[in-house]
Amino acid sequence: MSTTIRLRKGLNIRLAGKAEKILLPEAPVGRYGVRFADFPGLTARLEVKEGAVVSAGSVLFHDKLIPEIKYVSPVSGVVKEIVRGEKRLLTEIVIEQQGNEKVDFGTADPLKLTREEVKNRMMLSGLWPVMRQRPYHIVARPGAVPKAIFISAFDTAPLAPDLDFIMTNTQGGHLQTGINVLSRLTDGKIHLSFDKDGSKVAEVRNLKGVELHTFTGPHPAGNVGIHIHHIDPVSKGEVVWYTDIQDVVALGRLFNTGSYNRDRIIALAGPGVMHPKYHRTRAGASVSAILRSNLRDKNQRVISGNVLTGKKISDEGSIGFYDNMVTVVPEGDYSEFFGWALPGYDKYSYWKTFLSKLIPKKEYVLDTNMHGGHRAFVVTGHYENVLPMDVYPVLLVKAIMSGDVELMENLGIYEVAEEDLALCEYIDPSKIEFQEIIRQGIDLMIKEMN
């Protein structure tokens, strides 16, 4: 059964530098990293020291609150550095790759295991964190049973990779096993959502045990949060889980082969890249290899993830745990003479106050300049245009700012994540940090609920 949901609200930012559909083989990488900021709300307890020898799948640290959730090394090698930031806050564990050792977790058919056995296998192997949950957009809490599990099979973020192209080039045979794993975790349905093109991959099309949906419309139509909102919204007290389609493959691989293996395909994109293409790599791999002699300029920002929600990394930083792309855009650290008053012939904007609206180009180079100063909320009626949810983004943000927990609940804090409101932040002439505020609101809710 398939349903089609047509969304009109949203915005496809015409950013230049879309990745060409050419897949490059994995380049040798010496440096891998696991970044703590990829897991908001996590308090980590280290299980290794600098210099420790690890295999792919060896535990690096665990969740202090739920010690069963392990976070493991993506490769075999040596723990080279445990990086700490301000106030000795853990920022990253850096691993120097050596050899090809992997921990064997043993094979199993998920359909023959109990729910607890499946969970334990996922947690022991370090693959549990690929499951995330609404409310809160954090690593799923294994104690709950989700009412449904969602997978988005397309990504609408600026320059996002074509997930179907990725699936075409992903080794078959593991996806159905992955779905079977998920089916053990919930009593409800598994929802798999496509864009209007569906999938050309037979294995994806013929998956059993999933309910198919089609979403059309501009970004954020591909966000799983939007799918949840329209298919089976989260109310107070309910939980849904979700994961990335490449991680469903990783789950299947774990049960089929017994090893932790998060090989994935990412897109390298953005106006700062000379040859934007797809690359085989692994979560946590340093981007230095794919960026080498591929950057247009020195003064650029390398982002793990998309330009709206990704994290800034150095040019040898590691690909984030959940990211399926690396974007490079020019830094915007220049002053512009009367920039706010110029006609804006070549300035891409959501707003119709720029001449670029009359003579649109196909794509634009956008940089990291703020293009203005921070102000209080003034304009209204536009934020809603880029959020296809029954949520009032400005009112929600104001409720968070005033710390009104009940109002936050009523306005839909359980249903949103930073990424869903990223476009509100992008278009905002008042330059308000929507995403940061949403996370503060979520943190407050977690604190209140415990």
Partner: protein, 385 residues
Amino acid sequence: MNFLLKQIKKIKPQFEQGGRFGKLRSVFEGFETFIFVPEKVTSKGSHIRDYMDMKRTMTVVIMALLPALLFGSYNIGLQHTRAFGIEGWSLMQMFWFGFLKILPLIIVSYAVGLGIEFVVAQLRGHEINEGYLVTGMLIPLIMPVDVPLWMVAVSVAFAVIIGKEIFGGTGMNILNPALTARAFLFFSYPGWMTGDKVWIEGLTRGTAVDGFSGATPLVLAKLDEFDRMPSAMDMFIGTIPGSVGETSALAIIIGAVILIATGVGSWRIMLSMTLGGLGMGLLLNLVGSSEYTQLPAYYHLIMGGFAFGAVFMATDPVTAAQTNTGKWIYGALAGIMVVIIRVFNPAYPEGTMLAILLMNVFAPLIDHYVVNASIKRRLKRIKTT
């Protein structure tokens, strides 16, 4: 450009905290960011941001106000020649005459308003808000041309301090600051805000030629002198006595087109307020018995400040309803209120200002009920599952 940028960078340290002119930080920053969009880059959240900022938003509104300002200038000259029987002035002469009369109003409005904004921004350590750029232009346009400058200064100070800054500045105020300024004058110095003299330059000091009345159509209507009212066409074009920028529905419509096309002004409010006023006018046509109630309904849209209020005042995003549904209700009620005040209130010939201020107060309540509907949908989900 580079030379200028270098000079600014050179003197900037003196204006930073602890610098020689550290106390003028906000003012310096205000001018700096006015000339150059700063090199500040994103540090969290979205890595790219739209080119749109508050300066550009406000600039669009000012551009939309220009037709009303230009026509207002011309109309002051025109009314002056009519009142004093001057003949042979060219269009440019009338325009310049009027423009030179408006200019002091604009200068006083900006000087006092921005002065207060600068001081407040400095005290709070904020950047200077651009909101007053629009308010400062709106205020002269809703004043009678003959109003004494000191009154403008006092009303601006009242509006900015009491109407806006004590609530936390631009974005936090409940009442439209420009209308607050006008209301302040209206109730403090009614003699300068109503009647048949203040609308014509020089008429408060001199005597008009026989047979000329400086009364606005609304005053004439209130006095039941319908036979002396100007034609609908004159009222639409705007060659009638009235506040500086409010007379020409045509010029205001051009402004409305700019606001709607750029998405800066809410078409929902403009349309719903127009429909509200029109609807109420039609209703009165049906049930009313006095001559005023029998006035063609569309007259209400072109008389007095209705058009100006609907396009530039009611649409102020900070003080209007914020939800889309709320905007429809807010605008419609404002339009209805204008006509009710005009026709039934014995004291005030014009109702636009009061109607919009009243709806400003009710806007949060309207939003509250609209948002509650969304909240109820959310809560209902829990009950049904």
